[in-house]
């Protein structure tokens, strides 16, 4: 979706402000939110692409004015309500009152913590031969899916070169809407800054994205 989350190349957000000796969390509630998202994901309530889609789908003004973990909280609430795990009345009351919905991997308990501290595996068997190989010139398609996609707007319509082949991986565009893993070849595609940003761009700058095969066409 063409949301405000797709920020690459936008102007007006100001300077980057690093915080010296930044703590891991700025409040206890941020830590609880992070842990709840990881736990419910690991228990099978949703996949990582769905959780990203729910954060992107927050109203633009909310997205831009909420802190990072507030976006996580709002996205998590919406997701768990939509998927039938909790009811709005339960959130309002602060207590459960409806029957629980079974989780694909069951209750998240202490024994599950260690496996959540390693990232998931996204590589899958290839359903078809790769269309592209390193060195090929490719154009990022001019597509505008209304749901989740990982092709940033700034790359669409532009020509780059395939640099690396990462094998076949879960396709976020379908995984996010529970439409299946639909594995696709994934490539690092590198663009000259002048191709993306015009003739005045830094001639010594190159930008790469990781692009799934359905995002690309031969150029």
């Amino acid at each position: 979706m063409n949301g405000v989350h797709d920020m690459g190349g936008m102007d007006g957000f100001g300077k980057v402000e690093p915080e010296p000796n930044e703590p891991t969390f700025h409040s206890e509630w941020e830590a609880r939110v992070l842990a709840m998202v990881r736990a419910m994901g690991a228990a099978g309530a949703f996949n990582i692409d769905t959780s990203r889609f729910y954060r992107e789908a927050l109203p633009p003004d909310v997205y831009l004015t909420s802190s990072y973990y507030m976006k996580w909280l709002l996205g998590l609430e919406d997701l768990l309500i939509d998927k039938g795990y909790i009811a709005p009345s339960e959130l309002a009351a602060g207590h459960a009152s409806e029957p629980a919905k079974p989780l694909a991997r069951g209750k998240f308990s202490l024994d599950d913590v260690e496996r959540t501290m390693v990232r998931g595996q996204f590589g899958r068997a290839a359903p078809a031969l790769a269309k592209f190989k390193p060195g090929d010139r490719v154009r990022a398609k001019n597509i505008h899916p209304a749901t989740h996609t990982r092709l940033p707007r700034y790359a669409r319509g532009h020509v780059g070169v395939v640099e690396r082949d990462h094998g076949c991986q879960v396709f976020p565009d379908t995984a996010a809407t529970d439409s299946g893993e639909n594995p696709q070849w994934l490539y690092t595609v590198v663009f000259d800054a002048t191709e993306l940003w015009g003739a005045d761009a830094d001639p010594a700058l190159k930008i790469s994205i990781d692009a799934f095969e359905p995002y690309l066409e031969a150029a």
Binding site: M7, F13, R32, M40, V118, G123, Y154
Partner: protein
Amino acid sequence: MISGMSEHDHHSDHDHSELSETELRVRALETVLAEKGYLDPAALDAIIQAFETKIGPHNGAQVVAKAWADPAFKVALLADATKAVSTLGYVSRVGDHLVAVENTPNRHNMVVCTLCSCYPWEMLGLPPVWYKAAPYRSRAVKDPRGVLADFGVTLPKETEIRVWDSTAETRFLVLPMRPLGTEGYSEQQLTELVTRDSMIGTGFPKAPRAPS
């Protein structure tokens, strides 16, 4: 509940007066999830403890120092970072799809996630606020030299800058250049020079201390 209370009630409610609306909201969600049997709150405590103690830039710093000190490891790291890191028993396990990219005198690498906040957290811990915020995400792919200036970092105009936008599940770790004047340093001494920002590409490693 809270929003329905009068101003007077709110001020006299000592149980809740220390908790913000956000804290109450988060507590309500956790209570519901626990009561429905979806999770054990003690497991949340354990996740938080792991992020606060086990997972952090010290992991990445050990990998970088090893690559500086051991040429064979550096070759292995650049060829397949997940595999190379997994051979080091003392670093936390990492998932698939980790890629190490090497800074050279001619090329500087910088990592961003313009779409959300993808970050090699097994190597670096949870990302800092600035990495997840709009200024960095919007500008890193268009004006990385301007971003670097915000960090007090300047590169020669002719140095190629390569920005890696983490748009899939690949995670990128920058292998910074080994600081000059560190000949004979042990891996441990080298580890202390590696900064988090040098592994994102928004900073350099620390300079070695001048001999006293």
